[in-house]
């Protein structure tokens, strides 16, 4: 697993974004961004077999 450390520097201090009273680490912001992307994708992407089920009803 040592190769991960050669791509992503894991020994450095974390990066933080600071705006007025808001202080958030970049890693946490990325996770929040991924959750929003997943949420939107879940609403927009077609579900397998959806049209077949509608026809059956």
């Amino acid at each position: 697993m040592g190769w991960i450390g050669s791509i992503i520097p894991l020994d450095n201090l974390g990066h933080y974004l600071h705006w007025h009273f808001i202080l958030i680490s970049v890693s946490n912001l990325i996770v929040i961004g991924l959750m929003i992307v997943t949420f939107v994708a879940a609403l927009l992407l077609p579900f397998p077999g959806r049209s077949r089920r509608k026809e059956n009803q």
């Binding site: 996770v31 991924l34 959750m35 949420f39 879940a42 609403l43 992407l45 077999g49 959806r50 509608k54």
Partner: protein
């Protein structure tokens, strides 16, 4: 024993009530309504699957202990599995929460389903926090010393001492897992009793 006496027994009454509220075909249904064919409906069961991995990996960590998870390769692997399953658990739970919030999932007498979900969420946050302070490393020391002032400021520090590793570990591996599993079980049973909430337009159609 006469039939009347049998009818009066608490076991008979409880069985009849449970079977009436949740018959087997409702507990484990073969089909779901057409509107459930959407990706937004898969995050509840994703959360549940992640919870199973959290519990299994947590049980293995409890069997072997901190020395093992800090020093051996398999210990590192199970420790990481525990962490990443928790990450997936919270990730899926948040997307599930957003989905249910925007579809007003408390409609149609589902208030208790919504509330058990909310309380499970808060119990899970507390379980995650006590897990972070039970790691027995510098990270857990840092988190507990930083958080003690916040908790002391609320007055909660008198009975919930984040610097007391024994207490935090017991909360993490006994009290909170019991609460999370019981609440999740109740939440899932309520979903089975009341059914999956329909979309808003379906509700309007039914009202017409």
């Amino acid at each position: 024993m006469s039939t009347t006496e049998i009818d009066r027994q608490w076991t008979t009454r409880l069985r009849r009530r449970a079977a009436g509220k949740l018959p087997p075909e409702k507990l484990l249904p073969d089909t779901q309504p057409a509107y459930v064919s959407s990706w937004i409906y898969v995050f509840g069961v994703t959360t549940l699957a992640a919870l199973v991995v959290v519990i299994v990996s947590g049980c293995i960590l409890a069997l072997e202990g901190p020395q093992w998870w800090h020093s051996s390769n398999i210990g590192h692997f199970v420790n990481s599995t525990h962490l990443w399953s928790v990450e997936i658990f919270f990730f899926a739970m948040i997307v599930h929460l957003w989905g249910k919030f925007f579809m007003g999932a408390w409609r149609g007498g589902r208030t208790l389903t919504w509330m058990t979900g909310c309380v499970t969420f808060f119990a899970s946050i507390l379980a995650g926090f006590t897990g972070y302070v039970s790691q027995t490393n510098f990270d857990s020391q840092w988190i507990s010393t930083q958080s003690k002032d916040g908790i002391n400021a609320t007055g909660g520090g008198s009975f919930f001492n984040v610097l007391n590793l024994g207490q935090m570990l017991m909360w993490h591996i006994v009290i909170l897992p019991i609460a999370a599993i019981a609440l999740t079980g109740m939440h899932v049973l309520l979903v089975r009793i009341k059914g999956v909430v329909p979309p808003f337009e379906k509700d309007t159609e039914i009202a017409r």
